[in-house]
């Protein structure tokens, strides 16, 4: 820890001081003169929505983006960070939301990559030593591609610790973890802080923030809105400053909704009215068998699923347990090996994907950029995809109508874009998801399958997505929400299934969900 400075200045030198940081992407100002200070031995929460600039700010700190203005001081010494190499040298370590790992490397190789050391016995011993000291259990010889998400995250943290990071940045680290893994992560974070380092936690989950952070900074629209010291604020106050509209959050109904979205609500507390559920069954998947990614081997054990009109079925699980295969099989993207699939009594199994589409099945895939949009095509074109047949006139696309619909959709779904002609790949993740949802709902789905629909989205976008999903259900759509974010599934689902190793292992109705029990099921431990 640094010594308090002499004289009137009684505050100790902060570990990190970023001043007036500015970053522009073309015409968009992503960071507008942000000041950000982190003390020594502090877990500092960095909150805010997508587009608020928190990840951009941290990418500047980590040298991935070159700032257009501003200064960075570490331990009171000004540093120039032009690349991750500079950042590492200055003592900054960052764990990105999507792990930056070489899949074919072992844990040890991934940890030592970029240092002067080879992945030899000494390096391995150091990895083992760090993992024991900070409670980050890993096998140093395993290839990371074979490891589950929670373990891969520990590898990321070990990478930073191995390099002697003084400041550890964690970008949304809890999104895909089970509650048990979150607890373990937090105790590791405390162990890290106890050894004299500081942790910056980028998150949108207020419950977590309040539980572990000694200080919290809220960002919005590329600016720092407020900084709170631990214990001086409430969940509502935090939510209000994140959303930026105190009136709507002040409304108890809205603030409890925000609290659910933010992971702040207690479990079992049903916040929203269940829509009138018509009891008729809408979609039935009977003993379906699904082939895995590599062909041949079954990714999914034969399983059955029946979804009623207006029902939201949540499927929780750790990533890589067959979610993608299940989602694609339920939407006709992937052919069923065996079994039947009926929607409103119509057999869809064996039909081409277009048949599923016209029957009213709509899919919102997990990987927005790769599977959800054509990044180089305009928003108009992306909105029309899948519905191009209906917009044809005499064999030609009715562009006037398509453009008109696009402008309307951009307004209805509050897509932040310069124009409908902008390439969809230029948008931020949240805005891409709005485009995909606008396209999905324009098809008036009978069965809607969503995979990680709010991953990486801010509260406003998340709340918006939740409202749309609930509205679709209220209109009688059958909804399947597959998510690796347990809070999301619990907030949405009328009924929750757990997927583990390609099998639906348990089912719980709303109100009877114990997150720790679900967490055990997600990890394959019999409850």
């Amino acid at each position: 820890m640094s010594e308090p400075q002499a004289g009137a200045d009684r505050a100790p030198t902060p570990l990190l001081r970023m001043t007036g940081i500015r970053k522009e992407f073309g015409p968009v100002v992503a960071l507008d003169g942000v000041d950000f200070t982190v003390g020594a031995r502090e877990i500092h929460g960095l909150l805010g929505g997508n587009g608020a600039g928190k990840t951009t700010l941290m990418n500047v700190l980590y040298g991935l983006y070159a700032a257009d203005g501003g200064t960075v001081e570490i331990d009171g010494v000004p540093v120039t960070i032009g690349s991750p190499r500079d950042a590492i040298k200055a003592g900054v370590g960052m764990v990105h939301q999507s792990f930056l790992q070489v899949d074919t490397f072992t844990v040890t190789e991934n940890v030592v990559l970029g240092t002067e050391n080879s992945a030899d016995a000494a390096a391995k011993a150091r990895v083992v030593e760090l993992s024991q000291r900070f409670g980050l259990a890993v096998d140093p010889d395993r290839k990371v591609e074979d490891l589950p998400v929670g373990v891969r995250q520990r590898v990321e943290i070990l990478k930073a610790l191995y390099r002697g990071a003084k400041i550890l940045v964690l970008d949304e680290p809890t999104t895909n973890l089970t509650p048990q893994e979150v607890d373990a992560l937090f105790s590791s974070m405390k162990a890290i802080v106890d050894e004299g380092m500081s942790v910056i936690l980028i998150t949108h989950k207020i419950r977590e923030t309040m539980a572990v952070c000694g200080a919290m900074t809220v960002m919005r629209d590329g600016r720092r809105v407020a900084t709170f010291q631990g214990g001086t604020t409430t969940a509502d106050e935090l939510a209000a400053s994140m959303v930026g509209d105190s009136s709507s959050v002040g409304d108890p109904r809205n603030s409890s909704k925000a609290a659910v979205i933010l992971g702040g609500a207690e479990v079992g507390q049903t916040v929203l009215d269940t829509p009138d559920v018509q009891q008729s069954v809408r979609a039935v998947a009977e003993r379906i068998e699904i082939a895995g990614m590599a062909g041949g081997t079954a990714a999914i054990a034969p399983c059955s699923l029946a979804i009623r009109r207006g029902e939201i079925v949540g499927i929780a699980g750790v990533a890589g347990n067959g979610q993608v295969e299940l989602a694609e099989a339920l939407t006709g993207v992937r052919e069923l090996v065996a079994g039947s699939f009926e929607l409103d009594g119509v057999q869809l199994a064996g039909r081409p994907t277009a048949g599923w589409l016209s029957a009213g099945v709509v899919y919102v895939p997990e990987d927005r950029q790769r599977d959800g949009i054509l990044p180089d095509a305009s928003i108009t074109e992306n909105l029309m995809l899948g519905g191009q047949r209906e917009r044809a006139r005499g064999g030609l696309i009715d562009w006037a109508r398509a453009r008109q619909e696009a402008v309307q959709a951009i307004a209805d779904y509050s897509v932040r874009t310069p124009s409908a002609a902008t390439a969809a790949g230029q948008l931020s993740g949240g805005n891409i998801q709005r485009v995909i949802l606008a396209r999905a709902f324009a098809r008036r789905p009978k069965l809607l399958v969503l995979h990680n629909p709010t991953r990486g989205l801010d509260i406003a976008s998340t709340s918006f997505v939740f409202d749309r999903i609930r509205a679709a259900a209220a209109e009688g759509c059958a909804v399947v929400v597959i998510s690796e974010d347990l809070d999301e599934v619990i907030a949405l689902a009328d009924r929750l299934s757990v997927i583990y190793s390609g099998a639906l292992v348990a089912e719980r109705p709303r109100g009877a969900i114990d997150p720790y029990e679900v967490g055990r099921l997600m990890m394959g431990v019999a409850a």
């Binding site: 980590y62 590492i88 040298k89 070489v102 899949d103 990559l113 970029g114 240092t115 790949g425």
Partner: protein, 292 residues
């Protein structure tokens, strides 16, 4: 010469060119100009040997010429992010043209082409390049999997964003790997006039460059398997030659086709084992939202 000795001699260009392809590919650069680079190496190597009376100097200058071409490919794809296939094919044609042009300018059109001395046999009836290629491959294997710099190279071809975030200099790695890889390719070409013909002609490479690309896949982009694969490819070469000369009852064209068929079979049945660098043929843009 017995068959084994012929095969060992014939392995060398495959080894050099495929290892060159592997080194570039391990940094994400998929060089497809092998055939042209080999012809350039053959032409430059021959002409320098002829002018200065030194095969070693010929080999060195050929490698330098290849390095220059590889540097251009690496630069265009790393800093300007041009399409690797387009640049690679353009360089292939350029190399072919330059190789033939240099020969015509220096030697002219003649019915009695000049000859250079062949590489001397130094040990067990084989020339020194045989030992350079085989021992070099083993050294390459050790370097790639046992050393820090080998690990850095592999990381750049697998996940440059991860490598970048850990302070590995992705651009520099791509530049040197693309340069060194192409130098090896030209070196493999320069071997041909110095071991087989003693002179240069425009069909001297005879498809070995294209085969070397197949060999890189066949060997799963690993130096040790490329070495073994080169033995297989070379024996097909020798077998084709024997089929042509001795007439063993099967058309030599059929034998010449076998390495391609074998590569296809490997790709089909062992695609996990023969996995290619994940970032092969792609260009890295640090600030792109779509990388990964």
């Amino acid at each position: 010469m017995n068959t084994i000795a012929l095969i060992v001699t014939a392995m060398v260009p495959y080894i050099l060119v495929a290892q060159g392809t592997m080194i570039s590919g391990r940094a994400g650069i998929f060089n497809v100009a092998q055939e042209g680079l080999m012809l350039l190496g053959a032409s430059v190597g021959f002409l320098v040997s002829m002018q200065f009376g030194s095969n070693i100097l010929g080999l060195l200058v050929a490698a330098l010429a290849g390095a220059l071409v590889g540097f251009i490919l690496a630069w265009c794809t790393t800093y300007w992010r041009l399409d690797q296939f387009v640049v690679g094919l353009a360089l292939f044609f350029t190399c072919v043209g330059v190789a033939n042009l240099l020969y015509r300018v220096v030697v002219g059109v003649t019915t009695s082409p000049p000859l250079i001395p062949l590489l001397p046999k130094v040990f067990l009836g084989q020339n020194a390049m045989v030992y350079v290629a085989v021992l070099g491959s083993i050294g390459l294997w050790w370097w790639l999997y046992r050393t820090n710099s080998g690990m850095r190279l592999r990381s750049v071809g697998e996940n440059p964003k991860a490598a970048d975030s850990l302070g590995v200099n992705v651009a520099a790695t791509r530049l040197w790997a693309g340069t060194a890889g192409a130098a090896l390719m030209a070196l493999g070409g320069a071997y041909l006039p110095m071991v087989y013909t003693g002179t240069f002609n425009d069909s001297i490479v005879g498809g070995r460059g294209w085969l070397a690309i197949a060999l890189a896949f066949f060997g799963g982009w690993r130096p040790q398997f490329i070495l073994l694969g080169a033995a297989f490819f070379a024996s097909m070469d020798v077998l084709a030659l024997k089929a042509q000369v001795d007439g063993i009852g099967i058309p030599h064209q059929f034998v010449s086709m076998l390495p391609y068929v074998a590569t296809l079979l490997v790709m089909i049945f062992a695609f996990r084992w023969a996995r290619v660098p994940q970032f092969l043929g792609k260009n890295y843009d640090r600030e792109s939202r779509l990388v990964g």
